[in-house]
């Protein structure tokens, strides 16, 4: 397996991991809004960070996607 394909699979794995985490108290603790970050409640800043990480993974995915050279 080429390095690019390994990274592509790793990218998919990380996205799936984030998908699982999204529905756990790690991202959406029910009824809790602490700890705050710069005054921003937990679910909001964690959700924002998750969105940015997903965007970064999508960008990485475009670089290593199996169909990139077609």
């Amino acid at each position: 397996m080429t390095m690019r394909r390994k990274i592509w699979r790793l990218t998919i794995g990380l996205v799936l991991l984030l998908l699982l985490l999204t529905f756990t108290p790690f991202v959406i603790p029910m009824g809790a809004h602490h700890p705050h970050l710069f005054g921003i409640p937990y679910t909001m800043w964690m959700g924002f960070a998750e969105a940015l990480i997903l965007l970064a993974l999508t960008y990485l995915g475009t670089k290593v996607h199996p169909g990139r050279d077609e």
């Binding site: 998919i12 999204t22 809790a32 005054g39 679910t43 997903l54 965007l55 475009t62």
Partner: protein, 478 residues
């Protein structure tokens, strides 16, 4: 303010006329008229994807969702959109490959599924699913804007006339310029949407004293707005999961988006568009948080209409108020025109015979869909976000069948899958109207249907030795 709207609105319509004029083409084939020659680059791709995806639902629905249900709305829409964008990258490639390998002319997912399953039923189920769930969505967007215009200019024009004017403009440029005209206008409408939402967002944020102060004030009003499930308990696990599945499936199940996936000139252009779209999604949704939180602080107990009227119009300078109205009209039109046109393309994909005649029937169908949307908009309820979610979830029920068709060598072996999908759609509609329970035990019926259909498709696909569509490169362009 009406005069200002008329002046700026006229300029806007003139810009649409100009874009329609430059989009006109002597080549009146279906491939050119419905699929824009399948040669769309990433810049145009970004704006046409964005303007089609982000609609009235974004400007009107999301601020109100943040105001009423709190920060969980970010997970509901923004995080789901990011997964959707990755889905475009991950699955879009295989969809395009499968279409290319099939050596058929792609005009819509209905026709393509008819080809994959070698069954007319498959095509009809895809078309019916899209029709049933998109018409109410188009209608509610038009209604949302029209009610807003009526509130801004009471007794100036009857509601049906506002709605008719919007639809007439949309139909004219769609019929004259085809998908190219729609995409060119999407660029204008996408920029306008982004501009307007940020102007209002910044105004609201400044009035609240910045991000930190904003959340502090919201905390004083209602602490439960700062966490899930929110004050009304809406954002529970099942709602968020069902919404995420529905949103992630949009590019493959809703014709206005799947068409855009297919017509990109190369895989590479699609990838670039996917990343840019993710960035655009964050940019568009973030200011709706500011607007919603402003509403939570200042208009906590107001009705949705009062909150939106005050926040977007009354509290703003007249020029900004007019831009908001124009942005709203643009947002509604850019999504509705693509949806109506997408339904037309689905009809074309099911038609056989001479292209000229099929295209004429398609244009007739587009006109009929526009009239149906107009009638529906006059009688539909006005719960924008929840109807949008109904649309996402309803069309998502098509996804297992579509994926089985795309990822298997010979989907015709599963001729029962379209029938099963049709049954699931029927059950979903019945549960939405509370004719059958919308929960089985503790689990939502829509979630059960989505997961059951998905599970059956996976078992059928893997159990019968289906393979992922792969193979050596055959060239980049469609």
């Amino acid at each position: 303010m009406l005069n200002l709207l008329l002046i700026i609105g006229t300029l806007y319509v003139l810009a649409l006329v100009y874009l329609t004029w430059i989009a006109r083409d002597n080549d009146r084939s279906s491939a050119n008229y419905l699929m824009a020659g399948s040669n769309v680059g990433s810049f145009l791709g970004l704006f046409t994807f964005a303007a089609t995806l982000f609609s009235t639902f974004t400007i009107l629905g999301m601020p109100d969702f943040f105001r009423v249900h709190g920060v969980g709305a970010w997970i509901f829409i923004a995080v789901s959109d990011m997964f959707m964008v990755f889905g475009i990258l991950m699955v879009g490639y295989y969809v395009r490959r499968k279409i290319k390998e099939s050596n058929t002319s792609y005009y819509g997912m209905a026709g393509f599924m008819q080809h994959c399953y070698r069954s007319r039923t498959a095509g009809i189920v895809v078309f019916l699913g899209a029709f049933l769930f998109l018409i109410p969505y188009v209608a509610i967007q038009i209604k949302g804007v029209v009610l807003f215009l009526d509130q801004a200019f009471p007794n100036k024009l009857p509601i049906w006339l506002w709605a008719s004017l919007m639809l007439i403009i949309m139909v004219i440029y769609s019929e004259l310029g085809g998908l190219k005209a729609i995409m060119y206008s999407d660029v204008l409408q996408g920029i306008l949407l982004l501009l307007v939402i940020w102007v209002i967002g910044i105004v609201c944020l400044n009035r609240l004293g910045g991000v930190s102060q904003m959340f502090e004030q919201v905390h004083r009003v209602d602490e439960s707005l700062l966490s899930v499930p929110g004050p009304k308990g809406l954002f529970d696990f099942q709602f968020l999961l069902g919404s995420l599945i529905g949103i992630v499936m949009i590019p493959f199940t809703q014709p206005q988006v799947s068409t855009r996936l297919v017509i990109m000139k190369s895989h590479h252009a699609l990838y670039r568009t996917a990343v840019a779209l993710g960035f655009f999604a964050i940019l568009v949704i973030l200011p709706t948080l500011f607007i919603g939180m402003y509403g939570a602080v200042h208009y906590e107990n107001d009705s949705t209409a009062d909150f939106l009227g005050k926040t977007l119009i009354t509290d703003q300078l007249p020029l900004i108020g007019v831009l908001v109205l124009l942005g709203l009209i643009a947002a509604a039109m850019s999504t509705a025109d693509s949806q109506i046109f997408g339904l037309g393309a689905e009809i074309r994909s099911l038609l056989k015979g001479e292209d000229h005649h099929a295209l004429r029937s398609t244009r007739g169908a587009i006109l009929i869909f526009a009239v149906i949307c107009l009638v529906f908009s006059l009688f539909s309820p006005d719960e924008l976000v929840l109807l949008a979610r109904l649309s996402f979830t309803g069309t998502a029920l098509l996804a297992p069948m579509i994926f089985l068709g795309i990822f298997s060598k010979d989907a015709a072996r599963w001729s029962w899958m379209p029938w099963l999908t049709m049954l699931a759609i029927l059950l979903f509609i019945l549960s939405s109207f509370n004719i059958i329970p919308n929960k089985l035990g503790q689990i939502r019926t829509d979630l059960i249907l989505l997961i059951s259909l998905g599970g059956i498709a996976v078992i059928a696909g893997y159990g019968s030795g289906s393979r992922r569509v792969s193979g050596k490169s055959q060239g980049a362009n469609f």
